[in-house]
């Protein structure tokens, strides 16, 4: 009975059962904390804009389309059956489920007749992708709209058709030539409304006219993409291939960084120069080097360290990691990647200022990344093993699920590509390791890869061309040893090392003896050690260490060997710490000045010698400071004013003039920090009666201004209105408003009421 129908949201909520209210709280948990004191409080909590937005964001496209029907109805309150009729393309059960979902969340209310709360109306900016009504946009449409639209030329019509699609707002193109663009002609004809300097909006009436029989757009059915089917065993093998590759590469990368760390940039991240060096060392592309750096960082294997905390170094975790079995190592990488708040795919892209983003730079942090990554992959978890979706289909499905968050899906294709490179995903199908990762984390991932990755080998095959082939991943100890005595030539499933003169020399420098090397090769090689290898080691060892290099501070030399022996034996010169290097030469770790002094005190007559061997007799030159170098003269001419800047300045001057004319006789009183009920009341009145106001405003940069504004709406702490000075729609934060006065009043009714 109509009389019994609840008249407000609060009243309707009162009629809901406990279970229904519980479902409401479960679906919108943010309104439940802290617990609302009563239904009225709940109702007002439900109307908080942030909460409404969050609830709407979770809805799929079909549900939102049902909501659009209610929102677009000319009157508030739409009978449920009308909704069905309005959306003939959607099956009845889908519509019913959508209505249920909306009412459970209190985004619609009412039993037979559905109402939409005000805040929901406000939150859906463009219901069904339609613009605001012409009245709200302050456009006067031609009397005979169909005729006016019919008379348009194709270019103009195309603009309208485009705006009648999903988004009624579009950018106004830059004016190129003398002829007005189609959009500008439409503006002049009053078929488009300008909402600010750059954007135009299509009035709802025209949108509806162009859509014809489908006022709410095509039915938003759940996309049912064809599943990709692949043999689960093949998928796992290929995933294992990718896993082997990525684990190996990360290991190599860290080994290179261990040898020569990458510097930390002042802005954070790794310099392009270092990335190039790593790419070269690993023979991968620079983009791949960036990706590997990010992956190692995400897994906690790489971090900032060093004595001055200015280098990227392997962490202690790396030492543990490299001792682990391969599946565990992979699990750690995959889990690190899944939970990472960074977007590695953005490495090398340009930021707003046109600067390339460095790997490991703090600019790549996106706190939503783990949630997006997980939700994208979780969508695949529903399909049985061996089934999945092509990346494009998956993105389309995610877009349908949360259309209001579609902008957050931008990184998804890159994330899926990364998943493929790690081995979580193979051609759109989750691998066992990937499934394990999503359900049971790192451990699950390692379990999923178990048995697919090769066991480490502890031997190599030595060949006469001086290569050592490790036919599989090496045990850590042997890998370390070989890294010293040989150079890696090719890596992957196996590793090819080359022993060369320089690598043998490096080993000898590191303290190995020729015998050690022979022993190592005999022990590690499963094939007989080729003769050439033994010869190489012996050849290099024979030459090694025949020249010795050391550092001393000074020397004492004399052709009189007897004199030198006397000096060396003299107790008084003990303080000079001399020792004989060769006949005729004594050396000391002390400075030449000190040794000279000691010798002179002991009664000898030494002379100083320059590095070239000449006797030093003259005192050193007197100290002088280096003079300042002349810099370039300061340039006299200032930067010239561009045409655009000049135009903008003129426009502001004219707007200021106009505002002055409308300004009340006495200036607006500045009352900082007062935005009381009086201000709000005044603004509400201005909106209701359509009166322009005189606004004192402090912008985000802290500069104050005074302007005339035609207010349009006041909600959520923001005032929207037409700024007479700028000639555009603007949004003003209420708390920044310092004073308000109605323009047509004699005296200002200031913000303090």
């Amino acid at each position: 009975m109509p009389a019994d129908r609840p008249a407000t949201l609060a009243a309707w909520l009162r009629t809901r059962s406990d279970a229904q209210l519980a479902a409401l709280l479960a679906a919108r948990p943010d309104v439940a904390r802290p617990a609302p004191s009563d239904v009225v409080a709940l109702a007002s909590r439900l109307a908080v804009p942030v909460s409404v937005d969050r609830a709407l964001d979770d809805l799929d496209a079909a549900t939102l389309q049902v909501l659009d029907v209610v929102l677009l109805a000319p009157t508030d309150g739409v009978p449920a059956e009308d909704v069905h009729a309005a959306l003939p393309g959607l099956p009845a059960d889908v519509v019913d489920a959508a209505v249920e979902r909306l009412t459970v969340r209190a985004l619609l209310w009412g039993e037979d007749v559905l109402h939409a709360p005000d805040q929901v109306r406000r939150a859906v900016r463009h219901p069904a992708g339609l613009g605001r009504r012409a009245v709200d946009l302050r456009v006067t449409l031609p009397a005979d709209l169909p005729a006016a639209v019919g008379a348009l030329d194709p270019a103009e019509r195309e603009v309208l058709e485009r705006l009648a699609g999903d988004r009624p707002v579009g950018h106004l193109p830059e004016t190129g030539g003398p002829g007005a663009s189609p959009a500008r002609r439409l503006l002049q004809a009053g078929l488009l409304a300008r909402i600010d300097a750059l954007n135009v909006e299509l009035p709802r009436e025209i949108g509806l006219l162009l859509r014809g029989g489908l006022p709410y757009g095509p039915p938003r059915l759940r996309p049912e993409p064809a599943a990709v089917e692949r043999d689960a065993a093949v998928v796992d093998r290929q995933a294992a291939g990718a896993a082997l590759e990525v684990v190996g590469r990360v290991g190599e990368l860290l080994a290179v960084l261990e040898e020569e760390p990458a510097g930390l940039l002042r802005s954070g991240g790794v310099a392009v120069r270092d990335r190039k060096r790593l790419a070269k060392a690993l023979t991968v592309s620079e983009a791949d080097a960036g990706w590997l750096l990010e992956l190692a960082f995400a897994a906690g294997l790489l971090d900032v360290g060093g004595p001055h905390r200015d280098e990227w170094l392997p962490t202690r975790g790396y030492d543990l990691w490299r001792e682990q079995p391969l599946p565990d190592r992979w699990g750690a990488l995959a889990a690190g990647w899944l939970e990472s708040t960074r977007l590695p795919s953005l490495v090398g892209s340009r930021d707003m200022a046109g600067k390339a983003v460095n790997a490991l730079s703090p600019d790549l942090v996106r706190h939503t990344a783990p949630a997006i990554r997980r939700s994208a992959l979780a969508a695949l978890l529903d399909s049985p093993p061996g089934r999945g979706l092509a990346p494009d289909d998956l993105v389309a499905l995610l877009r349908w699920r949360t259309p209001r968050r579609a902008d957050r899906l931008a990184p998804v294709p890159d994330m899926l590509a990364e998943a493929g490179r790690i081995g979580v995903l193979v051609g759109g199908v989750l691998s066992s390791g990937g499934r394990g990762l999503l359900t049971r984390g790192e451990e699950g991932a390692a379990d999923g890869m178990q048995g697919l990755l090769p066991e480490p080998v502890d031997h190599v095959l030595a060949q006469p061309d001086l290569t050592l082939v490790a036919p599989g991943p090496l045990v850590a100890e042997l890998a370390d040893t070989l890294a010293v005595v040989a150079d890696v030539e090719s890596s992957g499933g196996a590793t090819v090392f080359r022993v060369s003169e320089s690598s043998v020399r490096r080993a000898l420098d590191a303290g190995w003896s020729a015998t050690d090397l022979h022993d190592l090769f005999t022990r590690a090689s499963r094939t007989p050690v080729p003769q050439a290898l033994d010869y190489l080691v012996d050849d290099v060892a024979r030459q090694h260490g025949r020249l010795r290099v050391g550092a001393i501070e000074c020397y004492v030399r004399s052709d009189d060997h007897g004199l030198l022996s006397q000096v060396l034996g003299d107790r008084r010169t003990a303080a000079a710490e001399l020792r004989r290097l060769a006949p005729g030469v004594l050396v000391s770790g002390l400075g030449a000045d000190e040794v000279l002094t000691v010798l002179r005190q002991a009664g000898y007559a030494p002379a100083g010698e320059s590095p070239g061997g000449a006797v030093l007799t003259r005192p050193p030159a007197r100290p002088r400071a280096a003079g300042r170098r002349p810099g370039p003269p300061p340039s006299a001419a200032g930067r010239p004013l561009t045409e655009a800047e000049a135009e903008a300045t003129v426009r502001e001057i004219r707007a200021g003039d106009a505002a002055l004319a409308a300004r009340p006789a006495t200036p607006v009183r500045q009352v900082p920090g007062v935005t009381t009920a009086g201000t709000l009341e005044l603004l509400s009145r201005a909106i209701r009666e359509g009166i322009p106001v005189w606004l004192g405003y402090v912008d985000a940069q802290g500069s104050g201004s005074q302007r005339v504004v035609q207010p349009v709406s006041l909600a959520g702490g923001f005032l929207q209105g037409w700024d007479e000075r700028r000639h555009e729609n603007r949004t003003f934060a209420v708390h920044r408003i310092t004073s308000v006065a109605l323009v047509d009043e004699e005296a200002p009714a200031a913000g303090n009421g």
């Binding site: 051609g427 048995g451 697919l452 992957g492 080729p530």
Partner: protein, 561 residues
Amino acid sequence: MNDGPLIVQSDKTLLLEVDHPAARECRAAIAPFAELERSPEHVHTYRVTPLALWNARAAGHDAEQVVDALVRYSRYPVPHALLVDVADTMDRFGRLTLVNHPVHGLTLATTDRAVLEEIIRSKRVAPMLGARIDPDTVVVHPSERGRLKQALLKVGWPAEDLAGYVDGQAHPIELDQAGWHLRDYQQEAVEGFWAGGSGVVVLPCGAGKTLVGAAAMAQAKATTLILVTNTVSGRQWKRELIARTSLTEEEIGEYSGERKEIRPVTIATYQVMTTRRKGEYRHLDLFDAQDWGLIVYDEVHLLPAPIFRLTADLQSRRRLGLTATLVREDGREDDVFSLIGPKRYDAPWKDIESQGYIAPAECIEVRVGLDDEERMTYAVAEPEERYRIAATATSKLPVIRRVLDRHPDEQKLVIGAYLDQLDELGRALDAPVIQGSTTNKERERLFQAFRTGEIKTLVVSKVANFSIDLPEAAVAVQVSGTFGSRQEEAQRLGRVLRPKADGRQAHFYTVVSRDTLDAEYAAHRQRFLAEQGYAYTIVDAADLAGPGEVNGPDWVDEPAD
């Protein structure tokens, strides 16, 4: 997990474990699409390059076969990305085809319109294309056929050339198979070439490439231009053709520095073709002198750049390239692919060896210690003089003599690069010397005497590096070389690889001065030999005992009688 013989590396090299039971089978499966890069004793390295994949495509293999071979024989899982890349690369070949249109003549047609759009917009390709007849076809001027193929390969869309060939002027040529017959693999090579129209046949040194050429000529039955590396090799071709085909002396012309004959079959050297006077190639008109039906390029891997340019204009003639390796030191493999043609036949090397067509060889490096005076001279020498001083050290002489003494009954070659040294050796060993200034007539005479066994030892300079057929040479002693060139090493080794009448082993000695640049260069060459799968041994000169002495080798050859 699979226990295959193959390991696929990230850089697209394939490691094949030779001792694995499935190694033979695997080699056969991967050979069509991977180039053998190194074949040392235990693990062979193959490389998968775009060219190798396109060669495989041209030979009728598809991506599925390639991926299947990789996955089936791989010991470890193969990264999906690598397989996708292989399939994508192979898929690029054949999207564009050069075909003869009944009305418009030579046209470039496509099965993928987007590709055609892309290349039409390419700055490099666009100037060679003519009018567009329909969305999938563009006219090509016949003179641009070669350059267009080159350019398309560079932009990554190699075209398949199905435009056919002119027959050329007919000339009867028959194989004269009396007392011998074409080996199976030679027959297959000719068939492979003929079916493909143009292309390269890869056969190891000594496997009878000349006969493949002759058989191809007998198939074409048309006037033929043969391009060879030098005059001596040209004469050898001539001898072989007279012996093995119906051609007579009068039908074969020599076009070289000495003679300029143009006959139905003409053999020209690369050198004369690329001789320039006043900045102009003077002998280019040879290509137009006859209506050639077939052009044979011997040793394609040495083909000089100007010949490529000429070849670009000869795309309507059948072209046969012969080589032992597709690897070029100048990296112009892609020009061979686009201008001569894809690989049409690749012989399984080891099969040929096991069939006894190539002599097995043992390589020995003999290390000589320099005496004190030589060491001093070496130490104070200018860097550019050092190699010469080390390589020509007189301490080598007694060692060389010792080496030769080990093989009293073999035909021996002493090979060097420095003429002073060679003259000295010639005097000391009492052997004739062949060098650049030796007349062709004298060369022929000495080679003939060597073949008949009249002369047992020949001292030769690098003129003998290429294409001289001395089948009986069983011992080569290399005393100095050209700074460790791998190419040279292979060619010199090739001299002793001809099959011996009794299947004896060949010996290849290199005498080097210890602890000098000579030894360093030797190490380069050794590496090459080891990569080619030759066993080699290092011996100190002091340990090199002659036959019958204490510590003497037990592998000294028995007298042959």
